[in-house]
Symmetry: C2
Subunit: 292 residues, 2 copies
C-alpha cells in the first residue's frame, strides 16, 4: 500500500485564497495594509534567503513588508531599541526577529523586548506560555490571545484539512525545539492527542516512533526516520528541511515511509509551503486585534 500524499502545495493554494479574501476585506474596512517588519542583524545567508521568501509572499498577497537590517556589529541595545521602535509603530502589525543573532547578543532579552501583540512568530514567553496553558479544544481557553509559531501551525493545518483524527490518538513528536517540536506537541495536546516528545537522548527511539498514530519529525537530520520506524497506516508529518547532494529532503526516509504510512507529507511540497502562509495569517490576525 502506498500512503496518501498530504499535499502542502495544493493546500497552500486553498489557504492563499482564504488569506487574500481576509486581507482584501480588512483593507476595505480599515484602509490599512497588514504589515510585517523583519529585523535582521548581519547577513546570515539562510536568514537573507528566508526574508526574501517572506517578502515575496507578502508582496503577492498585497500585504506590507519592511526589512530592517543592522550590521553584524550591532549591539544588544541597538537591536532592542529597534524592536521598541517597531512595537510603537502603528503601521507595523507583526515583527519577526531573525535568528541567529550576532554572537554576544542575548536572544532572551531580544525576545522579551518584543510586544507579545506583534510577536507573530510566537517566540515571546507570553505567547509560548499561553500556548502551554491554553485549555483543550471545546473548553474556554482561559488564557489571553496568542500567536503560534508558523511551522507547527502549518503542520496542524494539514492534519485538520485532511480530517486526520487527533483526539485520543498517540502523537509522537521527534525533536523539541522552541519553534517546531515543543509547540507542535502542545498543539496536539490541545487537540486531545496523547503526546510523546522524543529527542536525542531518547532510548529506543525507533520503538517509540513505532507506537505513533501521528508521527511528527522535527530534528533536522536527513532521512533519519526509516520505514520500519513507522506503524503501518500512521500519519507522518515531516518538518525536516535538509539537503543531501543538493537535493532537499526531510527527516523521514520518504521512499521507505511512503510504503508503510497511511498519509505522509513529502519534502519539498509538504509542511514547507504552509509556513509562510501561516505567518501571513498571523500578521493579518495581529492587524485585526490591533484595530479591534
Amino acid at each position: 500500500m502506498t500512503a496518501t500524499i498530504l499535499d502542502g502545495r495544493a493546500l497552500a493554494t486553498t489557504l492563499r485564497g482564504e488569506l487574500d479574501e481576509g486581507v482584501a476585506a480588512f483593507k476595505d474596512k480599515y484602509g490599512i495594509t497588514p504589515t510585517i517588519a523583519v529585523v535582521r542583524a548581519g547577513e546570515d545567508p539562510a536568514s537573507v534567503s528566508y526574508a526574501k521568501m517572506i517578502q515575496k509572499t507578502f508582496d503577492k498577497r498585497g500585504m506590507g513588508f519592511q526589512l530592517h537590517t543592522l550590521p553584524e556589529t550591532a549591539s544588544q541595545d541597538e537591536i532592542v531599541a529597534l524592536v521598541a521602535r517597531l512595537n510603537a509603530d502603528e503601521s507595523v502589525h507583526g515583527i519577526m526577529v531573525q535568528e541567529p543573532l550576532p554572537k554576544g547578543i542575548d536572544e532572551a532579552v531580544v525576545k522579551d523586548a518584543l510586544s507579545p501583540d506583534k510577536d507573530v512568530d510566537g517566540v515571546h514567553p507570553v505567547n509560548a506560555g499561553r500556548l502551554a496553558q491554553v485549555s483543550p479544544v471545546g473548553r474556554p481557553p482561559m488564557v489571553g490571545p496568542f500567536f503560534v509559531p508558523a511551522t507547527p501551525a502549518g503542520g496542524m493545518e494539514i492534519l485538520k484539512r485532511y480530517n486526520v483524527e487527533i483526539q485520543g490518538k498517540h502523537a509522537v513528536v521527534v525533536g523539541r525545539s522552541n519553534i517546531v517540536g515543543k509547540p507542535m506537541a502542545l498543539l496536539l495536546l490541545r487537540e486531545n492527542a496523547t503526546v510523546t516528545v522524543c529527542h536525542s537522548r531518547t532510548e529506543d527511539l525507533a520503538g517509540v516512533c513505532r507506537t505513533a498514530d501521528i508521527l511528527c519529525a522535527a530534528v533536522g537530520r536527513a532521512k533519519m526516520i526509516k520505514g520500519d520506524w513507522i506503524k503501518p497506516g500512521a500519519v507522518v508529518i515531516d518538518f525536516g528541511v535538509n539537503f543531501v547532494e543538493g537535493q532537499m529532503c526531510g527527516d523521514v526516509d520518504f521512499d521507505e515511509a511512503v510504503e508503510v504510512a497511511g498519509m505522509i507529507t513529502p519534502v519539498p511540497g509538504g509542511t514547507g509551503p504552509m509556513t509562510n502562509l501561516m505567518l501571513a495569517l498571523n500578521v493579518l490576525e495581529a492587524a485585526r486585534r490591533q484595530v479591534g
Copy 2:
C-alpha cells in the same frame, strides 16, 4: 518485592533545614524578611485551609506572610488593583492569587496582572512560557529567570534527592493541568526524559502507563491507577490528594502499586509535604532576585 518508599516527610525535614539557613543568611545580609502575600476573593473552604497551611509554614520558617482578602462580590477591577498594589509593594516578594476566583472573574486577566518577578506560583504566562522554552539541563537556559509551580517542583525534587535516573527514561504524566501535569512534563523533558502526557481522552491509558519508567499521576481521581498499570520496578510519583471515607489517598492504588513499583511516594507523606516548602523556596528566591 516491595517498593522503596519515597519519603516526602523526611525529605521535607532536610529541605526545611536548607531553607532556614537560606532565610537566616538573607535576613542577616539585607535586614529584609522574605514575604508572601496571598490574595483571596471569597471564602472557598479549601482555599481558606490552604492559606492557613501556607501561613503556618511561613511563620515557622521566620518568613513573612500577608493575607489579603476581598469579598466574594469583589469585581475584577478590584482584584487587579490589589494585585497591582502588591506588585509595587517592596515589602512583598511573592504573590499568590488563590483559585477558584468568584464567578465572572476572568482568571487570565488576573494572572496577566501579576508581576512575573513576584509570581512565585508560576502561573503567569511569562513563567509558563520560559519553562516551556528553557533549554535542556547542561546547556545555557536561553530564557530569563522564572518560577515553577510548587507541586511539580516538589515532585522533581523527590526524584533528584533519591537519585532517580531521568535522562533517556520514559516518563508518563497522567493529567495535564497547568499547575501540575503540564509543568511536570516540561520539567521532565528539561531533564532529558522522553515524556508522554496522558489525559481523560487517552486511548488505552493502562497500556501507556505500563510503558513508563517514571509514572506521575495528577488526575484527582482516587486510586485510579492500579497495580497492573505499572511496569515492575517503575518509579511512581503520586500528586493526587483525594478523600475516600474521610481517608486521604492518592491517584494511585498504593496497596497494589507498592508491590509492583521500584519506588513510590505514599499519600499522605509523599509529594504533599514538599509543596509548601517549594513555595517558600520560591519566595526566598524571589526576594534574592529583587534585592540583587
